[in-house]
Symmetry: C2
Subunit: 522 residues, 2 copies
């Protein structure tokens, strides 16, 4: 989940101040409503050292009535706590109905710090993650609102902050040897965090990543996330009460659609203007893709030729080593998926790979689970399956066009991650390419296709209609990249305005991944 | 789940025949309705070798229209299947909407046969169980009805059946060396089955154990289970459709109560009379408890004295070894919990144990999760916590008296098992005693208390009222014993009509468990 984050997000002090003047009273108002409604709330701050947890907690509670909340600082376990199952100390600290409990670090220590220190053996990590998920499921099933915030900075920024702290005697004590060690091995520690996020980003308790290089931006994002979640909880409670009243009156029960209203209610009034927009909450680093990247024709030819020859060799090595490979292509219409696939496969042995084009499901596919048709085409050991569009249709076109209910596409992130994890556990190499082009470039290509009699068939009215929904698709793509870029199957964003550059990048990334897989199995 | 099964259940051929004449057409009728409603159905037969899976599948499909179902026999993986993730072959075989897929053995091989054969390493078992749960959750979330049947026989009966098969040349081939090996190590293989059942008995896909010593009984139970599940699915679909219609009309959404109607709809017509009653489906071996067991006073005194001295020694050893112990008491009113607890603790060091009496939750407890007050009282390492009534109130009194919604108590089995598993993983010894007395014995004790001025306070009008609900409580107790008797925290049924016998059994079982725990940690 941390791979596709855009850490460059910023906000000026003035803007933040202006927004907070509206957001703080709004949060205070919500706290009173929650108390009245008897809803317990848990807000967990996790994240890298020096990411600003303390500062942000202080910012958040400024808006709260102190009689209704408390802050728990999760340090190392006390003697007493060590003498109990590790979740005991959190069970005993859950908030009462109407209370807000803020946790400065949550119940993830065993799979983060302790794992890094090797006090948690690797073979116990999975069990602890399951215990954590069970804890969160049990609480949310009971009506607790659980807001999980992960504060993210990069290695360099962390080092800078540590050094700043160490330069002052009154703050130097706050930086421990362990902090510095985790900074030195930032990559490894980040992977552990990422695995934790992946395993605990569940339907009932999802994570919100807070880009925390800039304090002001982070504060406003946290307020936005908390306010949205609390409003949602109040709305759901309201609907439940109304449903119970209705049910009692008419003895009829309507069901299954409450969740699908998530986030749909039209919010009115001033606070909305000061909250970050909905798509900002899940915005990925996609906008940061440098679309000016390009290759000239000579370079292209040379690199392409070398890479294709390399792939030919690797393909045969994979076959001998029984390694299956999945190469998935997604991207905007006319982003160059077809061209890339053609170059990718041109030197492969046709007996060892298959390209699966994905159109709208046919009648037989429609009467099965949406993943069925993809499962059927998963490669066997030693084979390569290329997918031209994929199972990600569930969280893109089916989401945007409402072919899937909100409930369906919302749970699909977890379902898709689970499928890819199973493939990966079996030994499958998974490559997922997102072909990125600008909206202007797309238009240019559409027009070029229209003008070329040989290519006119490639462009339909539907393409133009989809184009009108660019922004809706963009939001969906952002959330997809964030939530399904996993340690075992990360997304690769391909800067596609220049076709030469894009094709070479696809081939190069493929070669790298296959070489790494062969090395692992050597 | 297999510990508290009553395998002696029987039915005459005539009775079965009579019932089947009604149940078969009913199943056929339901198949047509399901087809029309477009609901996919999966029926999985698991269980011990020679438990009668083949026979029972044949019985079941007799009622079905062959155009609407197919049977998958799950043998060892084919070459092709081995070259994919292990769930691939099941994903590719899921039924279309309106179809019924019957599985002769399901997707559990990796955690049963393969685990027993050590082809699945122990450290991969947990991951496979998770993959299985994900598979089942994904399918049921999508609307598939998943019916999981576990056919259970005992070691002796299995051996008898194997021998019978081997005695005829035309059937001898059906018994393999591996079958005989699993029979020889029946206890070990049973534990693996039990762990599989525990881990996959989820809210969305629960198991139905079929006592299969008697074929006729098993067939009728299977029909009952399948018919109930299919009806339930149709009912839920109907409600969903109605809800969507209502929602569209009024733009109002009622929610969260559909599940709580489970199994409540009054069924009318003839088939009901021929199905097993609802409480028979989950009936445990409780009725088999031999309540005539007794001890005379001299024996009692002698045994009690010896056991109490032993407990004194063990208690101090536990303290030194930092082993925490939970001893939970449940049982009918006046079943002798208090008396047993008194004898159990009389020689313990009071600094090392605490008795937690559980009354109705107070106001502060009520505004927390129902498990919170029990978590708070869980013992620290080296200490003993005795609970006089427990968290099982959720699935007994709260279920029967409707203090919890159906949805709440139904998910509680899993929640409770998870809590106990966490305690157990931490190293806690868990003893759970169900104090069993007959209804007559209870009345005798109630009357005796009324007549004794010193004990009259112990008996209230509520006790008499609860007594009137004996049958409803019995159903709840049966289901509780079945679903929460786990390998890590099994229930111990204490035959309690004779107080001497009961107390000695409680102490003896405690001594055994503590000795075993100390030995493990030695």
């Amino acid at each position: 989940m941390l791979e596709q984050i855009d850490l460059s997000k910023k906000m000026s002090k003035e803007e933040k101040k202006r927004r907070m003047e509206v957001l703080q009273p709004e949060l205070g108002r919500l706290q009173r409503q929650l108390k009245e409604a008897g809803i317990p709330v848990m807000i967990v701050f996790e994240g890298f050292g020096a990411a600003g947890k303390g500062y942000q907690i202080a910012q958040l509670i400024e808006a709260l009535d102190p009689r209704g909340f408390y802050v728990n600082s999760t340090a190392s376990e006390s003697e007493e706590e060590r003498m109990h199952p590790f979740l005991w100390r959190f069970w005993t600290k859950i908030p009462a109905k109407g209370q807000i409990a803020v946790f400065d670090r949550g119940w993830y220590r065993k799979v983060l710090l302790d794992r890094f220190d090797k006090t948690t053996p690797e073979n116990e990590v999975a069990e602890h993650l399951q215990e954590i998920n069970s804890f969160e499921r049990q609480l949310t099933a009971d009506g607790t609102v659980l807001i999980k915030l992960f504060l993210c900075i990069d290695k360099k920024e962390q080092k800078r902050r540590f050094e700043k702290l160490m330069n002052h005697p009154e703050t130097a004590w706050r930086v421990t040897k362990d902090d510095l060690k985790r900074n030195r091995h930032f990559g490894e520690y980040k992977r552990m965090n990422d695995e934790m996020l992946e395993a605990t980003d569940t339907d009932c308790a999802s994570w919100m990543v807070i880009e925390s290089m800039d304090r002001e931006f982070a504060t406003v994002k946290i307020y936005t996330a908390v306010i949205s979640a609390l409003r949602q909880a109040l709305l759901e409670k309201e609907e439940r009460v109304r449903a119970e009243t209705t049910a009692a009156a008419t003895a009829e029960v309507a069901t299954g659609t409450a969740k699908s209203k998530r986030g749909k209610k039209k919010q009115t009034g001033k606070p909305e203007e000061e909250m970050l927009s909905f798509d900002m909450l899940r915005a990925s680093s996609l906008d940061k893709a440098d679309l000016t990247l390009s290759l000239d024709r000579t370079e292209y030819k040379r690199e392409l030729d070398a890479l294709q020859k390399r792939i030919e060799v690797l393909h045969s090595a994979l076959y001998r080593k029984h390694i299956p490979v999945v190469i998935a292509f997604e991207g905007w219409d006319a982003a160059g998926k077809g061209g890339a696939i053609k170059r990718l496969t041109s030197h492969m042995d046709p007996r060892g790979y298959r390209v699966n084009p994905t159109a709208s499901p046919n009648d037989f596919e429609k009467v099965h689970h949406y993943l069925w048709r993809f499962w059927r085409n998963m490669p066997k050991d030693g084979h390569i399956a290329v997918f031209d569009r994929t199972w990600y249709g569930r969280v893109m076109v089916e989401r945007v066009e409402h072919f899937a209910t909100d409930e369906e596409w919302q749970r699909a992130y977890q379902e898709i991650n689970e499928m890819e994890k199973q493939l990966c556990s079996h030994g499958t190499v998974i490559l997922k390419f997102w072909m990125q082009i600008s909206k202007d470039e797309q238009e240019k290509r559409f027009r070029a296709r229209m003008e070329d009699p040989d290519k006119r068939w490639k462009i339909t009215d539907e393409d133009w209609r989809n184009r009108e929904k660019w922004d809706a698709y963009k939001t969906a793509v952002d959330e997809m990249l964030m939530r399904t870029s996993t340690t075992y199957a990360p997304w690769i964003i391909v800067e596609g305005n220049d076709k030469y550059y894009a094709r070479v990048k696809v081939l190069r990334k493929t070669v790298e991944a296959l070489e790494a897989a062969l090395k692992r199995k050597a």
